[in-house]
């Protein structure tokens, strides 16, 4: 029962969230959908960045691959986004596997890994901007089909909202499930001490590549969702450094390598930034990114483990204190 509790919590919270459309106006529903999109993307990034500890600054690459894949296939071949989704997954998996294989085989880490991932996602911006079939620098507008499950499109926000809830619940369940699997333990070992992990039989290169593929594929799924909601993809709106940083900022503020952290981060920051944008966006463009920058600096200075990380640590300390008391009462340990 105890083991199942985290899963039940996720499902129950997901179900309760589904009641929101009863209370929220269209403006706030729009924000809610944005929260879900970014929460999903941040959860996806959390696998490579939080659990495996490889801070990719370029996951926009995979988000962009997903978004552009559905947009292009819909535009050119009138292909249903459901099939487009399959293509997006295949393409992003291939790209993430190839990049991971090269980057991790050559043992790039830390700042070097971050820089390579930025370079890749920025390169994607310039490549896409120069391909007329993909709309060039102007991006692609996708055809609106009204309420149509076949085209994965909905009139109004509610359809997207429920789809978003499903996606986020799915990724939370997935993370929670993997948290008790060998794979994630190995990722954490890689993050904590790569040499020690290798000496204990962990194929660190393979583990990191797998994490990159998993994270990349899920980011591509997020990209598909993003494209379907906005019905527009542009080089800088789904590729590039700014999007990539946005993806990870929620995970960092919420708590790296925790199941709920990225969601908590998105729930707190997305509405804040959207409301800031709505209030100040016209007179002060950039106010919401300024806010993100400030939050990021403050998080790193005062709460580097993020909100959930801090909560976990306080909880552990509390538990630790109670166990130490037990040990002490038994005479403690000779030292």
């Amino acid at each position: 029962m105890n083991l199942k509790a985290p899963y039940i919590r996720i499902v129950v919270i997901g179900a309760l969230i589904c009641l929101l459309p009863l209370f929220l106006s269209s403006f706030y529903m729009h924000i809610a959908v944005l929260v879900l999109i970014w929460a999903f993307l941040a959860c996806a990034w959390n696998i490579i960045g939080g659990y495996a500890g490889q801070h990719s600054l370029g996951n926009g690459l995979y988000m962009g691959i997903g978004a552009y894949a559905v947009a292009f296939l819909l535009d050119r071949f009138n292909m249903t986004p459901w099939l487009g989704l399959v293509v997006a997954i295949a393409l992003s998996a291939g790209a993430a596997a190839f990049i991971g294989w090269i980057v991790f085989r050559y043992a790039l880490k830390g700042a070097y890994f971050a820089l390579v991932t930025i370079a890749l996602t920025e390169a994607a911006v310039y490549v896409v901007s120069n391909i007329p079939a993909l709309g060039g620098a102007g991006g692609m507008q996708m055809e609106y089909h009204g309420n149509s499950l076949y085209y994965m499109q909905f009139a109004g926000q509610n359809g997207y909202f429920f789809m978003g809830v499903l996606l986020v619940v799915f990724i939370l369940l997935l993370t929670q499930w993997y948290r008790r699997k060998r794979f994630f333990y190995q990722l954490i070992a890689v993050r904590e001490n790569e040499d020690a992990a290798e000496a204990l039989g962990v194929d660190t290169v393979k583990a990191k590549i797998k994490a990159n593929v998993m994270s990349g594929v899920l980011c591509a799924v997020g990209g598909v969702f993003y494209a379907q909601y906005f019905l527009y993809v542009g080089p800088r709106s789904v590729f590039g450094e700014v999007v990539s940083v946005q993806i990870l900022i929620y995970a960092i503020v919420g708590g790296l390598g925790t199941t709920w952290g990225p969601v908590v981060g998105a729930v707190l920051l997305v509405p804040l930034s959207e409301i800031t944008r709505a209030q100040l966006g016209n007179s002060y463009p950039g106010s919401q990114l300024l806010l993100y920058g400030g939050v990021m600096v403050l998080t790193m200075l005062f709460m580097p483990f993020g909100i959930m990380g801090l909560a976990e640590r306080l909880h552990q300390r509390w538990q630790h204190r109670s166990t130490t008391q037990v040990v002490d009462s038994q005479g403690g340990e000779a030292s």
Binding site: R182, Y185, N193, E198, A199, L200, H320, E333
Partner: protein, 242 residues
């Protein structure tokens, strides 16, 4: 019968420096071998090559009749050759149990099983009271025990111990002695690098002495202690051989 570990002509150069030079020795199953020598004589470099962390410049290593030189550390470990690190290498931000589970996953797939193995290993090294403590909060002695528990969890046939007794008090060294002897009686073969002579002389069936990367003596602890070449090598080193 072939030996469990056969090392032949093992050499490692760093630029112009020869850290390990043409080392040849065998280790039979069930043996405890002491690998001793003055500081900087190449002991840890030898361990690194045996465990796959470092590629040899020349020479062969056969483990269980299989050539393993130059293959990656994780594969060496999965073949049954594990090591501990001279400078302890914990996973700081997870609990002691989770630290050991990483090793246990070499042989089991499920977290529940791995946790059971891990707790068993922690029990063996006397860390049960600290099972749920984060590794970064452990003391040096506890971390040294954790190193052994992690390595044991991979179910090694051969375990390389790199200075597990260094920095421990006399009583703690006794505890470590008993633990290693017990593990050896259960069939684990050991190669021990150690500066605490009492530890290594008490345990070793056979000692290999290296200096400047080359083997200068081999034999029982008594033979080695009475070898003039060994005395010469240690001359000027404070470490007393008695």
């Amino acid at each position: 019968m072939t030996a469990l570990l056969e090392v032949h002509g093992l050499t490692r150069r760093f630029g112009g420096l020869v850290a390990v030079n043409d080392l040849t020795f065998e280790v039979n199953e069930g043996e405890m071998i002491g690998l001793i020598g003055p500081n900087g004589s190449g002991k840890t470099t030898t361990f690194s090559m045996l465990s796959g962390a470092l590629k040899p410049s020349a020479g062969t290593i056969a483990f269980n009749g299989e050539r393993i030189e130059g293959i990656k550390a994780n594969r060496v470990c999965r073949k049954g050759l594990a090591r501990t690190f001279q400078v302890v290498q914990p996973f700081p931000d997870i609990t002691a149990t989770e630290n050991v589970m990483i090793g246990a996953f070499v042989n089991v797939g499920g977290a529940r099983q791995a946790e059971a193995t891990a707790r068993e290993m922690l029990e063996r090294v006397g860390l049960t009271p600290k099972a749920d403590t984060l590794a970064k909060e452990l003391t040096l002695l506890q971390l040294k025990r954790l190193e052994i528990a992690k390595a044991l969890a991979t179910e090694p046939k051969l375990l390389l111990l790199d200075e597990v007794a260094a920095g421990l008090t006399s009583t703690e060294v006794d505890v470590m002695l008993r633990l290693v002897r017990q593990l050896n009686s259960e069939g684990i073969t050991f190669i021990i690098v150690e500066h605490v002579m009492r530890f290594v002389m008490n345990l070793s069936h056979r000692c290999i002495v290296i200096d400047f990367g080359s083997q200068i003596a081999e034999g029982t602890p008594e033979e080695v202690l009475n070898n003039p070449a060994v005395h010469a090598a240690y001359l000027g080193e404070e470490a007393s051989l008695a």
